[in-house]
Symmetry: C2
Subunit: 319 residues, 2 copies
Amino acid sequence: MTLAKTPIYFDTDLGIDDSMALAYLLATPEIEIKGIGTVGGNCSAAQAARNTLDLLGIAGRADIPVAVGCHDWLAHPFDGGSPEVHGANGIGDIELPTAAAEPVDEHAVDMLIRLAHEHPGQLRVLAVGPFTNLAAAVQKDPAISELVDRVVVMGGAAMVPGNMTPVAEANVNHDPEAAAVVLAAPWQVTTLGLDVTMDHQFEEADRIALVDSGRPVAGAIAAMMDGYADFYTGVFGRRAVALHDPLAAAAACGHLTYASAPVVDVVVDDTDGPGRGQTIADLRGRFRGFPEQPGAHAQVVLELERPFAPMLLERIVSL
Amino acid sequence: MTLAKTPIYFDTDLGIDDSMALAYLLATPEIEIKGIGTVGGNCSAAQAARNTLDLLGIAGRADIPVAVGCHDWLAHPFDGGSPEVHGANGIGDIELPTAAAEPVDEHAVDMLIRLAHEHPGQLRVLAVGPFTNLAAAVQKDPAISELVDRVVVMGGAAMVPGNMTPVAEANVNHDPEAAAVVLAAPWQVTTLGLDVTMDHQFEEADRIALVDSGRPVAGAIAAMMDGYADFYTGVFGRRAVALHDPLAAAAACGHLTYASAPVVDVVVDDTDGPGRGQTIADLRGRFRGFPEQPGAHAQVVLELERPFAPMLLERIVSL
């Protein structure tokens, strides 16, 4: 007897660490990527779709449908991406072989809604870019908030500084209005924010291990990581890169053991004040083991039990 | 030869931990309290003046002038205090012997301005309540921002949760508009916020040691602490009280050694959004030892080298 694979919808602004996240998913046999939607963030939604298709091509997974999603954010236009972090093309300005596959003729928002209905109670939604598609989907069809199994997102910063402003993490800061909708919808959400993602890094030695593996996906990711490590030298003081999105992927796969991950009230600051883009988690119960907060449905991952980089490296080189 | 004592202006909504702070100052021979101004916070400004005069009476220090300051906050009326924390009278609803002394016939704002001019380059301003008087003073006479030696405040929460909202500490949250003015003025400010003050506590054993000392000020503070420890049981899960204001007093006296206290840009969220009352410190340089931020003039104390409770206990029982 074969156990059913967990169906996953993957939403991404792919993205260098997004590429690592996709590789992690592709290397995980117990999940099945039912569809990938793209969104503007690290690069445009169209570019993210191209990058995703090309990386899937290298992995020999042209069977996975990729849908272009929202180009602009809920309340503001797409800002052109983050070339200083992810390169002008989102993947460190390296050129991947262009895959023959094209995006499907379905909007990412509709893909997510369809998949939620096709897999009632089962679909795991993993979002590693701005939450625009998720917000648009739950606004278009609120029923999906009851249908999906869980939403896992990379985003936020609870008790550590942000990375775009002193308090705002990039995915949330790009579209705070969308993040507010996603955190307010009555589904179960798990957030992997900077509290945990800045504490797990690939070192230069890991990048070299990717190269040395001789594996095609690993090689592509190592090439993307080169400039990314330059950017992160300004953050960490060395060529180490934070493993933001792959951590969320591993969480969506159920592979992480949390040392601290309270379920608490979370709201998003979508004002135009200095706190714009902050995910405000109510962690005031920290001295008493975070007593239950009635109605809270967001699990904020603060700390893992074990190092993540070795798990990630092993999976990427297995492709 | 006698070394000149450091002149201090003490601004307070006295207050239980404020009383500990005042005791700490009174027990420190190398500083001289030139004046005390009161403000609405834990209780009204008038009540805080009464409490201050009565505590000074017990300490035999009726010579220190006490000026009533702002009753209301800059943009909002005083809210009636925090009876659930500090009792209806600000000092845990205990009755102190009423001192004969009355407040001076000078507003706290004018006292602060006068003292700044009388002690150019020397006055240390210690504020442990809402920053209303300080803000009103620097708005009325901007020159004082160049005249005072340093402003030391109890307030804020940088990388830990707030105590009034998930992100806002009480002193800042009571009057965010004032805090914004004080943090924006070009003086040197040191903030002792919840990052450090929640990590230093008096245990029930310390309270009993205050009683056992048989000293009058220690006895009064131990009596005030009784209900305060009840409140904090809901926070810490035991009868331990956070040493907020006395830590700021010790900082103003130059007695603390900081393990981490970066000088960084700090802004205050004075919007009406969910982040209202948050002090937003730019701590993004945390992985690189907090590189200099040009123009930054706020030192945010995050961690001390040594336990504080023994220092505080020793001083209070010495009175």
